[in-house]
Symmetry: C2
Subunit: 251 residues, 2 copies
């Protein structure tokens, strides 16, 4: 039995009881070492832990599947939601490639994803239609990413940006912001959230023309407002549209 | 003090400890009656509950703010994530309109949103860039919704559809599917999830040309695959792209 378990942003208070129960019931806990570190140590006691910093994602997934194949209840942990840009898909791909999809029961425990966390800390930026785009071109051609940024901006989606920057790709974020700026004013609010609900949490709301790309790292999520998003009382707010139909003022 | 609290899809196992703690600490719990029903009854004991089925969202938000203004610790509950198409924004809008944004401390407890839940039950459809679009034209002009559907489809986003259907708008979903079909093959997988993690849960994976729109109601979330999404072992899988760079077969 194999379960992809969402740990949430990192704080235990945002890890669901279902995730905790899956971890407690597991014989083997697999995962990137940074995510294993988010699991309360008491839960890991007496369990086999499969986590080598040197292994890539594919090797880690294969190792977890190998454990599950021997009949051990195996959990693969992911920060945020295991179903959003995370390991649920790779596990399923490998189960399929190894013709194990009927043999090994597989499920996913959903969780609080990175952009859910970022949005909560910023105020209410995701009240309207939005798109989520990863700037990592390790597995996606950069031209596809640019096209998505352009169309998402034209569609006036609020845009959540994952994997905004790495050492090798230090200019991607600025390129992305420039593309978005073709269809947004420079005053458009941009929320920048690093290490949400973890030590070193950093929450900022700036404007599209004042994003300090040097201050952004791979653990940061950005939320770029749509044409109606505004900052109020230090919070980022994308109105749903009630003001068009109802009197929301003090009457 | 006012807190917008995410209950998750409905099952207690997916309500975070932070949500539970906020509920337990509250003097007043406000919310739509269908959401109040998701709160474990023991937590509500001895608390004031503000929930009239007749009140609209604006009135309910104003009533909650009125309670918070008197110094009571007030919680507004939402199913899914309070920060995704939910009450966090309306509360902030009214706090702003009533000049209370500095006076009443306000925060949001993030949670497991409807599309996180739907994705987990379907397999791994959200492994790549995606857009979320509500088909409700109560607060958004239908032309804007159509434009977003068209551009999201052109961008090859996986598309999550909220509020797919109501009695008054029975043709919106078919219109939306037709627009998406302009840029997707008719074999594109579509996940349909009703009442995720609640009684009567209904999970189906069909293709774009076989969606039974009559079977879809307002409590359903649809996830429409991108050009690479496929069904494998009954699960919906949007590959992240590892197969382009790594050998994921049994080697």
């Amino acid at each position: 039995m194999l379960t992809a378990v969402s740990l949430g942003p990192g704080d235990e208070s945002l890890m669901t009881p279902a995730a905790r129960a899956a971890l407690e019931a597991a014989d083997v806990v697999a995962g990137y070492k940074g995510y294993i570190a988010l699991v309360p140590p008491a839960i890991l006691e007496g369990k086999e832990v499969v986590s080598t910093g040197m292994m890539g994602e594919v090797e880690r997934a294969k190792a977890a599947i190998e454990q599950a194949r021997t009949g051990k209840r195996t959990v693969m942990v992911c920060s945020g939601d295991a179903g959003i840009y995370a390991m649920a898909g790779l596990l399923l791909e490998i189960l399929e490639a190894e013709s194990l999809i009927e043999e090994i029961p597989f499920d996913v425990v959903p969780g609080v994803a990175a952009f859910n966390s970022a949005a909560a800390l910023l105020g209410a930026p995701l009240m309207h239609d939005f798109a989520s785009i990863s700037l990592s071109d390790l597995l996606t051609p950069w031209e596809v990413i640019e096209k998505r940024l352009r169309l998402a901006s034209e569609a006036d989606f609020v845009i959540a940006i994952y994997n905004p920057r790495s050492k090798k790709r230090s200019d991607h974020l600025q390129k992305a912001l420039d593309i978005i700026a073709e269809n947004r004013t420079k005053e458009t609010p941009v929320g920048i959230v690093g290490r949400a609900y973890r030590e070193g949490q950093d929450v900022r709301a700036v404007t599209l023309d004042t994003v300090d790309v040097e201050s952004v790292d791979m653990q940061t999520v950005l939320i770029i407002g749509n044409s109606a998003t505004r900052i109020t009382g230090g919070r980022m707010l994308t109105p749903r549209g009630y003001h068009r139909k109802y009197d929301i003022s003090n009457s």
